[in-house]
C-alpha cells in the first residue's frame, strides 16, 4: 500500500495504537504523555515511509520504528543520568542500609532488567511482560527467531544469576 489516504492511515494506526502505546510504555516511565509522544513520532515516520514505499506489515514496521526511537530515548536518558544514577555498580557498592532496602525484591529485579543489554532487555519485556510470540519479537528487533531465543536465554540466565547472588531465600 503506497500512498494511503489519511483516512486509511488513521484507521490502520487506530487499530494498532493500544499495542504501540503499550510497547512505548515499557521504556518510558515518566507518564503516559511521553509514551504517546514516542508513538506520535513513530507514526510520523511511518507516514513519510508509506508515501514512498510499499509497506507489507504496518504493525511490525511501526513497532520496529518505535523500538529505535525508544532506544534513542534510553541512550539520551542514560547519558543524562549516568552520573547521578550508576545502574548496577550501585548494587555492589551499597551501604548495609541500602542493602536492606534492596531486599525489596521487585525493585531489585527491575534494576537488574535495566542493566541488561538493550536488545536483551527489549526481548525480555516483549516476551515476559507483553507476551509476544518469538516471531513477532524477531520482526520488531529485525533479527531471526533463533537469535531472539538466544537473547532471551542469555537475559533470563543473567537475571537468574543476579537473583541467586542476591540470596534472598
Amino acid at each position: 500500500m503506497v500512498g494511503m489516504t489519511s483516512q486509511e492511515f488513521n484507521r490502520t494506526i487506530g487499530a494498532i495504537r493500544p499495542k504501540l502505546v503499550n510497547f512505548a510504555a515499557l521504556f518510558v516511565k515518566s507518564g503516559a504523555a511521553t509514551a504517546e509522544d514516542m508513538v506520535q513520532d513513530a507514526v510520523l515516520k511511518l507516514w513519510k515511509t508509506q508515501e514512498t514505499q510499499q509497506i507489507k506489515n504496518t504493525e511490525a514496521l511501526t513497532l520496529h520504528i518505535l523500538r529505535n526511537l525508544c532506544l534513542d530515548y534510553l541512550k539520551l536518558k542514560k547519558n543524562n543520568t549516568e552520573e547521578l544514577k550508576p545502574a548496577y555498580s550501585a548494587l555492589v557498592s551499597e551501604s548495609p542500609l541500602e542493602k536492606l532496602e534492596r531486599k525489596d525484591g521487585l525493585e531489585f529485579i527491575k534494576r537488574c532488567i535495566e542493566t541488561l543489554p538493550e536488545d536483551q532487555m527489549i526481548a525480555v519485556r516483549l516476551r515476559d511482560v507483553l507476551g509476544y510470540e518469538i516471531g513477532e519479537i524477531a520482526t520488531i528487533l529485525g533479527t531471526t527467531e533463533v537469535n531472539v531465543r538466544t537473547m532471551l536465554s542469555r537475559a533470563r540466565n543473567k537475571l537468574r544469576e543476579k537473583i541467586l547472588q542476591n540470596g534472598k531465600y
Binding site: Q7, N10, I13, A32, G131, R156, I163
Partner: protein
C-alpha cells in the same frame, strides 16, 4: 481450579531459562506463582517469585495506562457537548414557558433599553427571533460536533506533521 504440580513447574522453569518454553507454558508458570502461597513453595522456586510478580505487575500497569490514554479526548468532547447542550435546552425551556404560559399572558412585561414594552406581539416576535437564534446555535453545535469528530480522527497524524513542519522551519 486445578493445582499446578511443583514438579511440573520445576521442569518448566529450566526450559524457561533456556528460552524453550511456549507462551502457554509461561502462562502456566505465572499462574503457579500467582496462586501458590509462599509456604507451599520450595525454596528453589520461591527465588523466582518476585521476577514473575514484577512481570505481571508491569503488564497490568501498562494495560491500565493504555486504557486510560485512549478515551480521554472523546470523554472531554462529550463533556463539552453535554455542557452546551444543557445550556441550550434550559434556554429553550425558559423561553417556551415565557411565551406559552397563559396565566402570565396578561401581565407580560418586556423591557428594552429600560423602557417597558406592553405590546404583546412585539414581545412574542422578539422571543421568536431569540428562538431562531438558539436553533441556529444548535445547528452550529451539531456541525462543530461533526467537525470535532473529523478533527479528532485526523488529529494524530496532523499533530505529527505539525512537529515535522516546526523542525523543518527551525532548520
Amino acid at each position: 481450579m486445578e493445582n499446578i504440580s511443583e514438579k511440573l513447574i520445576s521442569s518448566l522453569i529450566e526450559k524457561y531459562f533456556n528460552a524453550e518454553t511456549s507462551l502457554s507454558e509461561e502462562t502456566l508458570i505465572k499462574r503457579y506463582y500467582r496462586e501458590t502461597p509462599d509456604v507451599e513453595m520450595s525454596n528453589e522456586l520461591r527465588q523466582y517469585r518476585d521476577m514473575f510478580a514484577l512481570y505481571e505487575r508491569e503488564a497490568v500497569l501498562i494495560n491500565d495506562r493504555a486504557a486510560r490514554t485512549q478515551p480521554r479526548k472523546t470523554l472531554f468532547m462529550n463533556h463539552q457537548l453535554m455542557k452546551w447542550g444543557s445550556v441550550a435546552a434550559a434556554a429553550i425551556i425558559l423561553i417556551a414557558l415565557f411565551v406559552t404560559n397563559p396565566r402570565q399572558s396578561d401581565t407580560l412585561r418586556f423591557v428594552i433599553d429600560g423602557e417597558n414594552i406592553n405590546d404583546k406581539e412585539l414581545a412574542l416576535s422578539f422571543a421568536g427571533s431569540k428562538m431562531d437564534k438558539i436553533n441556529e446555535l444548535m445547528k452550529r453545535l451539531e456541525k462543530s460536533e461533526e467537525y470535532m469528530g473529523t478533527v479528532s480522527k485526523a488529529e494524530k497524524p496532523v499533530s505529527s506533521l505539525d512537529k515535522l513542519n516546526k523542525v523543518l522551519s527551525q532548520s
